[in-house]
Amino acid sequence: MLGLSRKDTGFLIAVICLTLATPIFLQPFPETSSLAQFNAGYPDLMQRFAIYGIFVMGFNILFGLTGYLSFGHAAFLGVGSYSVVWMYKLLDYNVLPGLVLAVIMSGIFALFIGFVSLRRSGIYFSILTLAFAQMSYNLAYSVFTPLTNGETGLQVYLNDPQVLMSEGAPTSPHLFGLVMNESAKVAVGDWIFTFNVGYYFTAIIAILVFYLSLRIFRSPFGMILRAIKTNRNRLNYAGINTKPYMLTAFVISGMYAGLAGGLLAAMDPLTGAQRMQWTASGEVVLMAILGGAGTMMGPILGAGFIKYFENIFSKINESVLHQWFGWMPDGVQDFVIGVVSPFVGEGWHLTLGLLFMVVVIFLPGGIVQGALLVVGMFRRRNGHDGPKKQESASSAAQPAE
C-alpha cells in the first residue's frame, strides 16, 4: 500500500494508531491517584513529543543514514520558528503560510550551510556545522536584532501590519479557524483525557513526514546514503558522485528541522535565539543516539523519552519522595531519599547523562537494540531452534529498521 512493503504498511498503521491514541495511553493513571503526576497526556507535552519527533526524524536521515554528525541542527529549528512568527506579524495568525515559509527558508539555509560544510567530513564536518550554528545564534542576538528582536525574542505586537487579519479572526495560532490551543476534555470515570487541536495538527504532520522518511529509508536514494556511511571511497571508485546525495540528505534534514521549529512557533506564537544554541543541537544528538540512530522508530522513542524526562521526571522533588518512601522506617527512609534525590528533580540531567553514557558504552544501537536483545532472549528461552537463534542474534547486533 502507498508504495510500501506489507511489513512497512503494518508498521505505518501501527505508528498512526499509536500517534492518534497518544492522549489516551499517556494518561494511564486516574487523576485521584498519587501517580497522576506521571501522566504525560497534557497538550503542551504531547505537542512537544510530536514536534521533536519530527526534528529527530530529520536529523536521523542525515546522521542515521550517512553517519555525518551535525552539531548545528538547531540553527534550522530557529530559522523555522522565526519564519512562522514573521508570517504572524505580516499576514495573520493562520499557521499554514508560516509553515510553508519555514520549510522553504530552512531549506535554503541548509543548502548554503550544507554546500560549505560537506566539503569536509568526520570531525571537521561536525565543527563546521557547529560553527555555522553558533554564528547564527550570535548574530540573532546582535546584528539581526531587527529581524529577531534580540534577547526579548520575536513576538506579535499590536501595531504589526497583519494585512490578512479580519474582524473576529482568532488572535492565537489557528488553521483556517481551527484554534490550536483549543482542546476537548473527556472524563471517563477517574480518568480525564485531553484531545487538543494543536496536538492532532502536529500529529498528522508528524505521520505525513514519518511516511516520507520511511519512503526515503526504503528508496534507492536511501540505499546510496547507507553506502556512503559504509564506504564513501568505494562509491567514488564505482563512479558515483556522492556530493549531490549528501547535499540532498542535508537539505531534507534541515527542512524537517525547520518544519519542527515552525510547529514550535505554531503552538506558541513566540520564539527566541536560544532555540539555535548549540545545546539544542546537542539535545537532538542525544535523542537520536539514545533511541538508536539509523532505525526508523528509535530516534522518535529517544525524543519522547528525553522530553518525558525533562517535563515529568524533573518535577519529582523531596516531598514527593517522602510521600513515596513514607512506609519505610525513618533512618532507612532518610538514607534512601538521600541516595535518590540527587538523581531526580533538578538533577535529572545527571540521570540523563549517566543513561546516555551507559547506552553509548553498552548499547550503541540505543533503546531499539536493547529491545531487540530482550526479545531475542525471550525467544531463546522459549526453546526455538538454531537458525532462529542466529537470526535474532544478528538482528540484535545490527538493528534493522
Binding site: 569536509r120 557547529l130 544528538v285 540523563l352 547523562g353 549517566l354 553509548v360
Partner: protein, 343 residues
C-alpha cells in the same frame, strides 16, 4: 599604537585559556587518538578546585572578641577562620589571600587522579571505536561531571578573588613608555598569561628534553614500533592523559578570578577550544598554542568599536568565521600533519 597593544593584551588572557585547553586536547588526541569532549569539564573541575580551597581556608567558627563590643555594649561575636586560629592571624590572612594560587597544589594531584581514572575507566575502551562514539561518550561524561559539580556547588557563579597584591589594574603603558593611563590592564590577567606561558613551555620542554617525552613523541609517530621495542607505551600515554588533565585543571584554577566559576563554564570553553584545535590542525601541539593565541587576539580586535562600526556583529562571529575559512582553504588546519584525521 597604544590601542593596538591594549587589544593584543586583552586577547592574551582568553587566548591563554584557549591555548592551554587546546594543548591538552591535542596531547590526548595526538597520543591516544581520542576526541575528548569532556576536556572542558576538566577545566571546570580545576576552577572548582580553587573554589574548594577558598571555601576550606575561609571555614570559620564564631568566637567572642573581648576587646570589641557591639552597639548594645555586649562583647562582639566575630567569625574566626580556622586557619587564623591554627597558624596565627598573619599566616591565616596570607592563606586566605593567596587561596587561588595555592589551589594549584590541590589541583595537580586531583586532576592527575581524575585524568588517569577517566582514561583507565572509560576512554581505554574506546580506542578502537569510531570518533563519533568517542565524542558521544565523552559528551555524556561531561554532562555527568558538570551535574555532579552543580549538585555540590549550586548553579550560581561563585566569585573567587585574586590575591590582593594582583587584584588591581596595572599601567603597562607607563612601563612601555607611553603616556601613563592609556594602557591599563588588570594585573591578574597578566599573571595568567605569564603562568600559561610557563605551563606551555614546561609541557614542550618535558616532551623535548626528557626520555619520557622522547618515548611519547616516538609513540605519537609510530605507536606499534615503539611497542615492539619493548616499551610499555600504553602506560606512558595514560600518564600523558593525566598530564593533559592537569594542564586543563591548572588553566581552570588560575582562570577562577577572571571568570567566577559556574558549572557550565567548561562547555562554553570546550566549543571554542575545539574550534581552536581544528584551526591549529588536529594533532599539532604548536598549532594548538598558536591558534589559541591567534583567535583570542583576533576576537579582542574584532570587539574594538572602530572594527564593529565597520562590520557590525563581527565580534560575535570572528572565531567561527576564521574557523570556516581555515577549514575550507587549509583542510589540515594551520599546522596540521599530513594524514591525521583525513577522510
Amino acid at each position: 599604537m597604544d590601542a593596538i597593544i591594549l587589544q593584543i593584551l586583552n586577547g592574551l588572557d582568553k587566548g591563554s585559556a584557549y591555548a592551554l585547553i587546546a594543548l591538552g586536547l591535542t596531547l590526548i588526541f595526538g597520543t591516544l587518538g581520542v576526541v575528548n569532549f569532556a576536556h572542558g569539564a576538566l577545566f571546570m573541575i580545576g576552577a572548582f578546585c580553587a573554589v574548594t580551597v577558598q571555601k576550606l581556608v575561609t571555614l570559620s567558627f564564631e568566637e567572642v572578641d573581648p576587646t570589641r563590643t557591639d552597639f548594645l555594649g555586649n562583647p562582639l561575636k566575630v567569625q574566626m577562620p580556622y586557619v587564623d586560629a591554627l597558624f596565627g592571624p598573619s599566616a591565616g590572612e596570607f592563606l586566605i589571600n593567596w587561596s587561588v594560587p595555592l589551589a594549584i597544589v590541590l589541583a595537580i594531584p586531583v586532576m592527575l587522579v581524575v585524568g588517569i581514572t577517566m582514561e583507565r575507566g572509560l576512554i581505554k575502551h574506546f580506542y578502537k571505536r569510531p570518533h563519533a562514539e568517542q565524542i558521544l561518550v565523552t559528551f555524556g561524561l561531561a554532562i555527568v561531571l558538570q551535574e555532579i559539580v552543580r549538585y555540590f556547588f549550586g548553579a550560581n557563579p561563585i566569585p573567587t578573588g585574586a590575591p590582593s597584591a594582583f587584584a588591581g589594574p596595572m599601567d603597562i603603558g607607563a612601563i612601555l613608555g607611553f603616556t601613563p593611563g592609556t594602557v591599563i590592564y588588570p594585573y591578574w590577567r597578566f599573571v595568567y598569561f605569564i603562568f600559561s606561558a610557563i605551563v606551555i613551555g614546561g609541557v614542550f620542554a618535558f616532551l623535548q628534553f626528557t626520555t619520557f617525552g622522547m618515548v611519547v613523541r616516538a609513540g605519537m609517530n609510530d605507536r606499534e614500533t615503539v611497542g615492539l621495542l619493548g616499551i610499555n607505551i600504553d602506560r606512558r600515554f595514560t600518564i600523558m592523559f593525566g598530564i593533559a588533565a592537569v594542564v586543563a585543571g591548572m588553566a581552570g584554577v588560575m582562570y577562577a578570578p577572571i571568570l567566577s566559576p559556574n558549572f557550565h563554564m567548561g562547555m562554553d570553553f570546550l566549543v571554542l577550544s575545539f574550534v581552536v584545535v581544528v584551526v591549529g590542525g588536529m594533532g599539532s601541539l604548536p598549532g594548538a598554542v598558536a591558534a589559541g593565541f591567534l583567535l583570542g587576539i583576533l576576537q579582542s580586535f574584532a570587539s574594538m568599536n572602530e572594527v564593529k562600526s565597520l562590520i557590525p556583529g563581527i565580534d560575535q562571529v570572528i572565531i567561527y568565521l576564521v574557523a570556516i575559512i581555515v577549514l575550507l582553504t587549509r583542510p589540515r588546519g594551520l599546522m596540521g600533519r599530513r594524514g591525521v584525521m583525513e577522510e
